[in-house]
Amino acid sequence: MQAFTQHTGIVAPMDRPNVDTDAIIPKQFLKSIKRSGFGPNAFDDWRYLDEGGPDIDNAGRRINPDFILNQPPFDKATILLARENFGCGSSREHAVWALDDFGFRVVIAPSFADIFYNNSFKNGLLPIVLDADVVDELFKRIAEKPGLEISIDLEAQTVSCEGEEIASFEIDAFRKHNMLNGLDDIALTLQHADEIKAYEEKRKQSAPWLF
């Protein structure tokens, strides 16, 4: 996993609640057996006017000029700002892969769906929960100044904008540590292989039907 320490970038405002994983990456792209290459089809239904598919070349497609990520400077955004319940719906990690492949490193919202939130950490995409008021304030600032950059410091757990710290955010210590160091969860868990085996032995006695 790529490590995350600090990041500064342009924020794209996506002013809607309940942005679901079907919208982030529509199902026809889930047929892929790969982990990469989803970026050009992130938000496909909103981003293009015609229908896309895994075997359709995006170069020839009709772009939706009204969609925020098609408008400069937001086509270069690396931070996504949205409303409540971002990433709800399906567990597809393809949604995180698509955002990552598009170039996003951070998503900011007042709340996230649990599975999406979890999946993000596994891929070095940082989901930041900020108060709805702060999120609202950010939307306003971007409307006044499109292309505004903000900075995220994971170590300090802060968000700053134009040299001023505007918010701090919560994150569990364990996730933060893994993200800062880009650690592989599986290797970490396998350090406890003996404990897992001991647990299994105990369970085989108390609940043999499970084995």
Binding site: D15, R16, P17, N18, D20, D22, A23, P26, K27, Q28, L30, K31, S32, I33, K34, R35, D45, E51, P54, D55, R83, E84, N85, C88, G89, S90, S91, R92, E93, H94, V96, S111, F112, A113, D114, I115, N118, N119, K122, N123, D172, A173, F174, R175, D185, I186, T189, L190, H192, E195, I196, Y199, E200, R203, S206, A207, P208, W209, L210, F211
Partner: protein
């Protein structure tokens, strides 16, 4: 005396292998269900790291999302889908995993076949790379959906790093009216809680109305816990649970069964256990439900009208309602019963079990699908459900009424195969998500119960199934 625990506390405590200082726990996973869409990258990761599945016997795999629901003798025509299903087949072969392949009569939607085989048992931790894994909580199991990295993590270690959720009790008190189904109950719950109301919680569904449900009905309710934002939903074990589980291929027998039953009988919340949130719903108030928007919380009953965003004081919400109405092609104030539909889909892991098909058949029997309906299809949840329905003659009832009778799979629930809506088409669907484009780009989905879907097919518009019966 030890502290009173909720069902979720008990399930959690029984599976903690170790805990970190910040409360993150390494949780042991008893059953891992696998399907073709979210597993290929996990198997690839496993291989790249030179790892093997920790406990192959915990895994049951099945292709369901991509499989055709029409004649299977041709195989899968879409080459991309075909490769994905073949990748699952070859991964299962290479690692020696149990798989019900496309030609096996036991094949079906992963959340239907797990319980059907007894692969889901009370007290288990059950995971699958699919958000509707919450379905299996109906057995008093801790069941939740995971992403592909976590699928790989479970394959490699039989464990997951987890943070404990908070406890919520949703109690549906009293008795529901005649013809009101589990689907109506859960849609009414989501209407009250909202799609994010359960975020961060594990929900236990309780109360007389839940106790009175069959296991199949409880699965329908738990299936949609995720639509209220909760990763896991569950129902306490009782005789209904134990009777359902006994005698299935994967269930214990003899002395082990006795031992298991003794343990299973403890799987309920203790008196006085602490819930962080308790919600009460009066069962008698629940009428047949129909969603009108693009989120499952946008739901009203059949006697209501499409709501007006101008009546909503929250700006973000009102905005969301306007977007939804525009997408759905609906005017505020329209009576729900006047909305005409183009297609009807009876199926999905929410409502494709035998009782669902019986409910729908009861409405369809001796009647005809209305002329304005372009397609009405019934897709059984598994090959075994299909077989049983045919033994009961349900297929004939549907076919005579003008429904198509298909092969099992996810089908038009998410339209990864050929079953889909065209832009602008309106569908009465027994599935669980009405998101934009879910059943086909530009398609408009209304979530309903199987009886309500059948009633919409017969009438050509939404209608109160309890009156049609």
């Amino acid at each position: 005396m030890s502290k009173a625990k909720t069902l979720y506390d008990k399930l959690w405590d029984d599976h903690v292998v170790r805990s970190e200082d910040d409360g993150t726990a390494l949780l042991y996973i008893d059953r891992h269900l696998v399907h073709e869409v979210t597993s290929p990258q996990a198997f690839e990761g496993l291989r790249l790291a030179g790892r093997k599945p920790w406990r192959s016997s915990s895994i049951v795999a099945v292709p369901d999302h991509n499989v055709p629901t029409t004649d299977r003798s041709q195989g899968i025509t879409d080459p991309v889908a075909k490769l994905q299903v073949e990748t699952l087949d070859s991964n299962c072969k290479a690692f020696g995993l149990t798989e019900f392949t496309m030609s096996d009569v036991r094949q079906g939607i992963v959340h239907v076949i797990g319980p059907e085989q007894g692969a889901t048992l009370p007290g288990m931790t059950v995971v699958c790379g699919d958000s509707h894994t919450s379905t299996h909580g109906a057995f008093g199991a801790l069941a939740f959906g995971i992403g592909t990295s976590e699928v790989e993590h479970v394959l490699a270690t039989q464990c997951l790093m987890q943070n404990k959720s908070k406890n919520m009790l949703v109690s549906v008190d009293g008795e529901v009216g005649v013809g009101v189904t589990a689907k109506d109950i859960v849609l009414a719950i989501i209407g009250k809680l909202g799609t994010a109301g359960g975020t961060g919680y594990a929900i236990e569904f309780g109360g007389d109305a839940i106790r009175a449900l069959s296991i199949e009905g409880r699965m329908t309710v738990c299936n949609m816990a995720i639509e209220a934002g909760a990763r896991a939903g569950m129902v306490a074990v009782d005789d209904t649970t134990i009777d359902y589980v006994k005698g299935r291929p994967y269930s214990p027998t003899g002395e082990t069964l006795e031992k298991a039953v003794a343990y299973w009988s403890t799987l309920h919340s203790d008196d006085g256990a602490h819930f962080d949130e308790v919600i009460h719903i009066n069962a008698a108030d629940i009428k047949p439900q129909v969603t009108w928007g693009t989120s499952p919380e946008m739901v009203v009953d059949i006697e209501s009208r499409v709501p007006n965003p101008d009546d909503e004081s929250d700006r973000v919400k009102a905005d969301g309602m306007r977007k939804a109405l525009a997408y759905m092609g609906l005017e505020a104030g329209t009576p729900i019963s006047e909305i005409a539909v183009d297609k009807v889909f009876i199926g999905s892991c929410t409502n494709s079990r035998i009782e669902d098909l019986r409910d729908a058949a009861k409405i369809a029997e001796g009647k005809k699908v209305a002329d304005n309906i372009k397609l009405a299809m019934v897709v059984p949840g598994s090959g075994l459900v299909k077989k049983q329905a045919e033994e009961e003659g349900l297929d004939k009832i549907f076919i005579e009424a003008g429904f198509e009778w298909r092969e099992p799979g996810c089908s038009m629930c998410l339209a990864m195969n050929a079953d889909r809506l065209e832009a602008g088409e309106r569908c009465a669907s027994t599935s669980n998500r009405n998101f934009e484009g879910r059943q086909g780009q530009g398609g408009r989905t209304h979530l309903v119960s199987p009886a309500m879907a059948a009633a919409a097919a017969i009438k050509g518009h939404f209608a109160d199934a309890t009156e049609l019966n």
